[in-house]
């Protein structure tokens, strides 16, 4: 087993909506510089778990620790400065702004400039610009720099959102279905970017995904959820072949068809 320290640890996390227990006592550990996948049929509670981990909702019970610190009830915006970045199932962007502006808002935030009422000094502007160029280069969107984000393709919007999540220099990046709704070509672009997040930037990656080829290609550990609980976890070679994983997916599909 890997000896790297645990960066994100959830213990007994519960989150209910009315009577529905979306997350029903989940333990999860993600180690530093690991690529971890979270899989499971629709409605298994994957996104709800993401929401509880990132403070979109506070969990009803359980604790969330990030780099040793208890962040269970820390406001979501504060967790970002602690080193968490996140994307959403449908890209969460500033639609009426250019790609450059979308990224600048996060860069300003990480430079602690957001409250400034004056345009940044020349020196600061150079630093902001350098970081912007770096982020655009990472997702290879230099040519779209001045385009309005609402006009971009779905795949490009996903890349903008990943770059935005990187703009605050996170240690852990959480991607919620990064390839949902994407064609094959876009999926392979995302795949190589996610690999770069780990290999080139040294980040820890936790992602939710339905595309099993994507999971198999990237994940070092896989956690499978079903009905709000963790069903299986371990290396992908084990989890993806486990008959219980297949049953959970098939069961979900049958109940959808029925």
């Amino acid at each position: 087993m890997s000896a790297a320290p645990v960066i994100l640890e959830a213990t007994g996390v519960r989150l209910a909506f009315g009577g529905v227990r979306a997350v029903d006592g989940v333990d999860l550990r993600v180690r530093e510089r690991e690529i971890a996948a979270l899989i499971g049929p629709n409605g298994a509670g994957k996104t709800s778990l993401f929401n509880a981990l990132t403070g979109f909702f506070y969990p009803d019970a359980g604790t969330v620790r990030f780099r040793g610190e208890d962040v269970t009830r820390m406001p979501n915006w504060q967790r970002i400065s602690r080193g968490i970045g996140r994307t959403f199932q449908s890209p969460s962007i500033f639609p009426e702004m250019s790609v450059a502006q979308n990224l600048t808002i996060g860069i300003q935030s990480s430079f602690r400039l957001s409250l400034s009422l004056r345009p940044p000094s020349a020196g600061r502007r150079r630093e902001l610009e350098a970081r912007l160029v770096e982020l655009l280069g990472f997702v290879k969107l230099e040519r779209l720099r001045d385009r309005q984000v609402a006009e971009l393709s779905h795949g490009d919007q996903r890349l903008v959102e990943i770059a935005m999540s990187l703009s605050t220099s996170p240690k852990l990046i959480m991607l919620d279905e990064p390839t949902a709704g994407l064609a094959e070509a876009d999926t392979s672009r995302i795949l190589s970017i996610v690999r770069d997040l780990h290999d080139r930037l040294g980040l820890t990656v936790l992602f939710v995904e339905h595309n099993m080829r994507f999971v198999a290609a990237l994940a070092q550990t896989v956690t499978m959820m079903d009905r709000g609980r963790v069903l299986l976890d371990g290396p992908p070679s084990v989890v993806l072949k486990d008959p219980r994983a297949r049953d959970a997916y098939l069961g979900a599909e049958e109940s959808v068809r029925a």
Binding site: G18, F56, P75, W77, I105, G106, S116, L117, M164
Partner: protein, 340 residues
């Protein structure tokens, strides 16, 4: 291209505003109509800061406007009768009145924010209405327009230019602020607050500062208004007045620098010109308002913008959008989920 179009538009507006004291009499209109347009535009801009840029439907700005009006009138009556200090006192009072209610508003979004702004606005209104000794109650306060310098009075044309100078100053300030990192962040919050929070931005704090700025603008407009009409009265703070300011912004164009001026012009012309022709002038304005919301939710000035039909977040009341936006505050998550 776009920058040049903006520069041309701004120059045209400046020329018209400077020539207005000669244009209005030529059209058999009083110069004070021009002053009213400027001050309504300034008050509508205070709404625009919240509605147009930060995405918050504010229905209580008349309260800040009225506090500014009373504060400058009281200052002119009871202390030094001098125009500039009286307006400054009104500006600051308007800002403080917003800062006072801010803590109660900043955690709310959408319809809850709107309802609370109405409620607090009405609280200010009733205080003005009931506090006879201070505000003159229902009768209001009559105030003689104080001189600008020495003992010379300020006539209506001079006052127009005084109001124009302050209006121009505030528009420059707004333009400058909107270009700053703070302004870009406000616009980001207006477009997608959840994302802003997930970029490490304490959005409640920004909403508070937006309210403060809005109060400053509204207070200044109100201070100038009572100096303009020599009168401050409770109905200035009523929620109908707040609604009128919102209507001006929507008519002219939310999230545009000059939209409030365009909207205030239409509104003031309607109130002054149409009203002498027909008592039903408000129907005409109402119809125009409905047409704006339905056909061009960006307002008249928004017609040419690239993002054409997209309504600001708070106008496009998408089903289900509300709980998400609120829940993102991490505020009362349990109650919130019950709604979802």
């Amino acid at each position: 291209m776009r920058l040049r179009a903006n520069a041309v538009g701004t120059s045209l507006i400046a020329i018209v505003l400077l020539a207005l004291p000669w244009l209005l009499p030529a059209a058999k209109l009083n110069i004070s109509l021009g002053t009213t347009v400027l001050l309504f535009a300034l008050a509508a801009s205070s709404v625009n800061i919240l509605l147009g840029y930060t995405g918050l439907m504010a229905f209580g700005n008349a309260a800040f406007f009225g506090v500014g009006a009373y504060a400058s009138a009281l200052f002119a009556i009871h202390t030094v009768p001098s125009l500039l200090p009286a307006v400054a006192v009104g500006s600051i009072a308007g800002m403080l009145s917003a800062m006072l209610v801010g803590p109660f508003l900043i955690r709310r979004r959408g319809i809850y924010f709107s309802l609370l702004t109405i409620a607090f606005g009405q609280v200010y209104y009733f205080v003005a209405y009931r506090w006879n000794d201070m505000t003159g109650g229902e009768d209001g306060l009559t105030v003689q327009r104080p001189p600008l310098a020495a003992a010379k009075g300020v006539d209506d044309a001079q006052f127009y230019f005084f109001a124009l100078a302050i209006f121009a100053l505030f528009m420059v300030v707004l333009w400058y602020v909107l270009r700053s990192p703070f302004g870009l962040t406000l616009r980001a919050i207006g477009q997608n607050e959840v994302r802003a929070r997930y970029l490490g931005i304490d959005t409640n704090r920004f909403v508070y500062f937006a309210l403060t700025l809005s109060g400053l603008f509204a207070g200044t407009a109100g201070a100038l208004y009572s100096m303009s009409i020599n009168f401050a009265y409770p109905l200035l703070m009523d929620w109908h007045q707040s609604g009128d300011f919102v209507m001006m912004v929507v008519l002219g164009g939310t999230g545009t620098l000059w939209g409030p001026l365009v909207g205030a012009t239409i509104y003031a012309l309607g109130a002054n010109v149409l009203s002498s022709a027909t008592e039903a002038w408000q129907i005409a304005i109402g119809a125009l308002f409905v047409a704006c919301v339905l056909l061009f939710p960006r307002g008249l000035l928004g017609l040419g913008s690239r993002s054409g039909g997209a309504a600001p977040q708070s106008l496009a009341m998408e089903a289900g959008a509300e709980p998400v936006a609120l829940a993102a505050q991490g505020y009362e998550p349990v109650a919130q989920r019950d709604l979802g």
